[in-house]
């Protein structure tokens, strides 16, 4: 039973980082924005306090066990899907298929994860839902923009439900010698990917000069990207002893998930830019919506799941 100490250490480490961040945020506020007028400082402090909330929620879910973790990510998936489908094309004929997305597909996908039915949750959305959902829209008879409507809905489900469900699915991998510690995989994935995001933001704000994709996002710079990925990979590698990976394997895994995370942010920015919005939503103060915070995890989770499953899991 080394889960609890390892998890506690990781969570205490995160709490330590957040305490430091809160102190730095407070000092910056007093120095640069005593009247709350500097939007960057105010946003930074809003982000830090939202991080406290997210970490506390995650910790509670970890303590509540498998059901807690699956439930937390199902709820996050619901909020993300609500944000995504707010921006996609659909008309009145899609009412049933939209209802099915929220109240049938989403609960079933997370239920299949909860009962560890890999053969089903791996293909449910890309096969069964992919084929059946357009039927619901077709039955209502509207053909206007049909392909656009069904593709965007399918995309929303793949991103917000399918990909995200691979985070709690990590609980069910069977890795010899790692039994009972799978929650560490989730904590590790989220920690490394989000640390990379945060450090990309920090390095970008401090040193950012050269934009990676000026058409997509003004805030993504090469300086931020490299600084963020290297810092997160270094810290992730230093934590190799709590994972099933050797130090070298941890380097590879961290690079893989941080780069996937960056791609996630890039693709999601492209969608936002196309739809003319700055954020996906407004529910996480300072960050925007759920997808704004989860985009990197959404892209990293399925790859992390499958690579870990292929090389380390016996199932």
């Amino acid at each position: 039973m080394t889960t609890i100490p390892h998890l506690l250490w990781l969570l205490s480490g995160v709490a330590g980082i957040l305490i430091l961040a809160s102190l730095v945020g407070e000092v910056l506020r007093q120095r640069l924005s005593p009247d709350g007028a500097n939007p960057i400082i105010e946003n930074l402090n809003a982000r830090i306090s939202a991080w406290w909330g997210m970490v506390v929620l995650l910790a509670i879910a970890f303590l509540a066990g498998r059901t807690g973790v699956v439930l937390l990510f199902a709820l996050a998936s619901f909020a993300a899907l609500r944000e995504f489908l707010t921006l996609t094309h659909h008309n009145r004929a899609d009412h049933w298929s939209l209802l099915a997305c929220f109240f049938i597909v989403l609960p079933l996908q997370f239920y299949f994860v909860r009962i560890d039915w890999y053969g089903m949750y791996a293909v449910f959305v890309p096969v069964y839902v992919f084929l059946m959902l357009p039927v619901l829209s077709a039955l209502r008879g509207s053909t206007a923009d049909f392909l656009v409507r069904v593709s965007e809905t399918q995309w929303a489900l793949m991103i917000c439900v399918y990909c995200l469900s691979h985070v709690p699915a990590l609980l069910y991998l069977q890795i010899p010698g790692f039994e009972g510690r799978n929650v560490i995989l989730i904590a590790y994935l989220i920690f490394v990917v989000q640390l990379s995001d945060v450090m990309q933001y920090v390095f970008g704000k401090l040193l950012g000069r050269t934009k990676v994709a000026p058409n997509l996002s003004p805030s993504k710079t090469w300086e931020g990207l490299i600084g963020g990925i290297l810092t997160a990979t270094a810290v992730g590698t230093a934590l190799w002893w709590m994972t099933p990976f050797s130090p070298l394997q941890a380097v590879a895994m961290c690079l893989l998930i941080t780069i996937m995370g960056f791609f996630g942010g890039l693709v999601m920015s492209a969608i936002k830019r196309d739809r003319g919005v700055k954020d996906w939503g407004h529910l996480i103060a300072g960050h925007g919506g759920f997808i704004d915070r989860l985009d990197s995890v959404i892209f990293a989770a399925p790859i992390f799941f499958h690579v870990t499953r292929y090389f380390w899991s016996i199932t």
Binding site: R82, R92, L99
Partner: protein
């Protein structure tokens, strides 16, 4: 029912409806050119769904919510005991009769007396749900008469975006999608302003809020 039990049931029901509205629409209020502060106001909004006033009511801060009463159609809200309970007890609606031939009370008089009692109002000047492709149906004259009778009260335009997609007319189960409510700069009747000009100005003020909802979304 004993009055205290009744009012407790009403407050619990109100809370439950609000929570449900938040779960489905995660409503977001944008205050643009106006602040959510205590002042006597008439919020006038576009009407695409029966959930409209619930959303306005939900995003108002609790201190404002307590004094805010929706103006609603009597023929709809008194149709069943459940609706009557929700309309009268939960939302304390000012129920007006849309049928001139049948009514015993003048709607404008009902609204002004609610204002004189200190209430703010939520009003849908289109008079019916807008199922057309136009952003707004032509306003009924009630808003003008109200503005004329109580010129000091702020008339606040509120654009409600997306609720027609959450629950299109004729559907029973709402789809979860994010709704945005944009509160705009208050209007007042200008001295000697003709009715048509005022109603036109009020409609324009409301439609002008439409792009703000998506740009800041």
């Amino acid at each position: 029912m004993i009055p205290s039990v009744r009012s407790f049931a009403a407050s619990v029901t109100g809370r439950a409806i609000s929570v449900f509205a938040r779960f489905i629409t995660a409503p977001r209020a944008i205050w643009h050119g106006i602040e959510p502060v205590q002042a006597q106001r008439v919020y006038f909004a576009n009407h695409s769904s029966n959930g409209d006033f619930v959303l306005i009511w939900t995003v108002l801060p609790p201190t404002l919510r307590r004094h805010t009463r929706p103006v609603a159609a009597l023929d709809y809200w008194l149709k069943s005991p459940v609706r009557a309970f929700i309309g009268r007890e939960v939302f304390n609606a000012v129920l007006i009769d849309r049928r001139p031939e049948a009514r015993t009370e003048d709607p404008v008089a009902q609204m002004t007396s609610a204002i004189d009692e200190g209430a703010s109002l939520i009003l849908f000047p289109e008079g019916q749900r807008n199922a057309s492709d136009a952003p707004l149906l032509p306003f009924k004259s009630g808003l003008y008469h109200l503005a004329k009778a109580r010129p000091a009260v702020d008339l606040v335009p509120v654009w409600i975006a997306n609720l027609n997609k959450v629950m299109p007319k004729g559907e029973v189960i709402p789809v979860p999608l994010i709704c945005t409510l944009t509160f705009g700069t208050p209007l007042h009747l200008i001295e000697d302003e003709p009715k048509e000009a005022f109603l036109h100005r009020a409609m324009a003020a409301l439609v002008d809020l439409q792009p703000l909802a998506s740009a800041q979304g």
